[in-house]
């Protein structure tokens, strides 16, 4: 009986091919800084370092960005996107709520935690309204009734799954967007030129792909951040006299 499996395979391939442009367009739109989540306005504590003069040129900023990407973004939010994707695929609402608690608890400063769930809730609303999608309605209800906060990484991963995006692509898009937003903060605050800003993002491509691979294989009980210096900077950001960023 070799015929049936062959037909199924062909059908699947055609379906994926047909939807591929839509999936790419979805990712480009949701990961864009103009998508109304406010993510472009968060520095994760970098504004403190820039304010103190610790980061004052493209080289020092790029080095700090790469550390943040590798030792904070990838093993926490990046990995959370992948876990959210899997839990959403399994229809595991309780699992998403638990994951949301973990993502929030990993952020040790108030501003970084608030930034995460404020952008998350904005993403949740914009996703629903722009794409006329109600697939995340149960999770939205959980955020409304206080069962969870609604962190960006969790919603990004769950929404991507609902749109048929693979976990690896979702993580890569998330990390790329996060880095691009952070670099735009540096461009405004240091400031940096547009070309050197874009070069920082381009030069991080290998790190982004490597990070996405790592995030997709990170076990739930090893999510964690190693950037203690950035934790301090993020806490101290609350007390900066002049602040352009929300975190």
């Amino acid at each position: 009986m070799p015929t049936a499996p062959i037909i199924i395979t062909i059908t699947t391939a055609i379906t994926m091919s047909t939807n591929a442009p839509d999936r790419l367009l979805y990712l480009l739109q949701v990961a864009n800084a103009s998508f109304p989540t406010g993510a472009f306005n968060h520095s994760y504590g970098f504004e403190t370092w820039i304010d103190s003069g610790a980061l004052d040129d493209a080289a020092s900023f790029e080095s700090a960005c790469r550390d943040w990407l590798r030792y904070a973004a990838v093993p926490t939010d990046g990995a959370a996107v992948a876990h959210a994707h899997r839990r959403a695929a399994a229809g595991d609402l309780d699992g998403l709520v638990d994951l949301d608690h973990i993502v929030g608890a990993l952020k040790l400063s108030r501003e970084s935690r608030e930034a995460s769930f404020k952008t998350g809730r904005a993403l949740l609303g914009a996703y629903r309204d722009v794409f006329s999608a109600d697939s995340l309605a149960p999770f939205a209800e959980a955020t409304r009734d206080g069962r969870c906060e609604g962190h960006q990484a969790v919603i990004f991963g769950a929404a991507a799954e609902a749109q048929g995006i693979g976990a690896d692509d979702a993580v890569l898009a998330f990390l790329h967007a996060a880095l691009s937003n952070l670099v735009s903060v540096g461009a405004r605050l240091i400031p940096l030129g547009q070309i050197e800003s874009q070069r920082i993002v381009r030069d991080a491509w290998p790190l982004l792909t490597q990070g996405a691979d790592q995030a997709c294989t990170t076990e739930i009980d090893t999510l964690g951040s190693a950037t203690a210096g950035l934790d301090v900077a993020s806490m101290r950001h609350e007390r900066l006299h002049t602040r352009l960023c929300m975190s």
Binding site: D67, H101, I102, L108, R110, G224, G229, M235, R236
Partner: protein
């Protein structure tokens, strides 16, 4: 209480041969004060009782942990339950020293503390020091009720800072986790995973070229609006430190990086000085260990 278990804890059959230091205690309220009962223990943990350093109802208990330090495969597991309305302070006699693990196995230090309603836990252990080539897994899990109160510290030194030419960030594996739940909900998870050579080497940079990382956690249902401002003022200006304080609901978190051990200790004590009146209703005082 969320996790009221006081059952004797047993070694995990997956662990390799080594010392299993086990201590299981329960704090109860009797005759207007808190008393601590040792339910079971196992050498090298030793039951040495406790005393009332503040001359009130709150016992101070010194954990005599692994004598000399953790060699490969050693495990210490401290488990405590504070019954509703009790209050206790636990500290250690000295730093937890983790020695080299040439066989590739892990040394583990595990703390599980369950704090009942209206109970107060002050947990102020000395720092953990992972020596060169050590492989360390530390887990601190504290469960609170919404009406519980907490002041807890956690500190990791990156090695023997002043040994020879210095021996920092030379361990081979470090997982360090400090987890707090309130009413069954996870509210803080400070987890460092440094298990690859490049990640370990990067820590020096990520810790702002400082070999000591200390963190204080404080929780109470009725913290004043300005308490984190008091903490900020208290921790500012300690020589050699970079520190910050934040507040998330009723949880205050202080992160400290320092060049020297004493500097982190001083900043932690300053944070305790600012927080203890609100947490325990009395002033902080240096903990006497001898």
């Amino acid at each position: 209480m969320t996790e009221p278990s006081s059952a004797p804890i047993q070694p995990d059959p997956e662990w390799i041969v080594g010392k299993y230091a086990l201590m299981n205690v329960r704090a109860s309220s009797r005759l207007g004060r808190t008393e601590i009962d040792p339910l079971c223990w196992r050498i090298p943990f030793q039951w040495q009782g406790y005393h009332y350093q503040d001359h009130d109802d709150q016992p101070f208990m010194l954990l005599v942990n692994s004598g000399g330090g953790f060699v490969e495969g050693d495990v210490s597991h401290f488990h405590g339950v504070l019954e509703p309305g009790t209050r206790a302070l636990f500290t250690t006699t000295a730093s937890s020293k983790f020695y080299k693990c040439p066989g590739g196995a892990i040394s583990r230090e595990i703390v599980d503390l369950h704090v009942g309603e209206d109970a107060l836990l002050e947990f102020c252990p000395d720092e953990a020091i992972p020596f060169a080539r050590s492989r360390v897994h530390r887990i601190n899990r504290i469960t609170l009720e919404p009406s519980s109160r907490l002041f807890a510290t956690d500190m990791v030194s990156a090695g023997r800072v002043h040994y020879g030419d210095g021996e920092v960030f030379r361990f081979h594996h470090l997982v360090s986790e400090f987890r707090i739940t309130v009413g069954g909900r996870l509210v803080s998870l400070d987890r460092l995973v440094a298990t690859e050579p490049e990640a370990i080497a990067s820590l020096q940079r990520l810790w702002q070229e400082r070999p000591h990382m200390a963190t204080a956690f404080a929780y109470a249902p009725d913290l004043t609006a300005a308490v984190e401002d008091d903490v900020h003022e208290a921790i500012e200006g300690v020589a050699g430190t970079e520190a910050g304080v934040t507040r998330i609901g009723n949880l205050v978190i202080v992160r400290i990086l320092s060049h020297e051990t004493w500097q982190a200790h001083e900043a932690l004590f300053n944070a305790w000085t600012a927080l203890r009146p609100a947490i325990a209703g009395k002033a902080a005082r240096p903990i006497l260990k001898c």
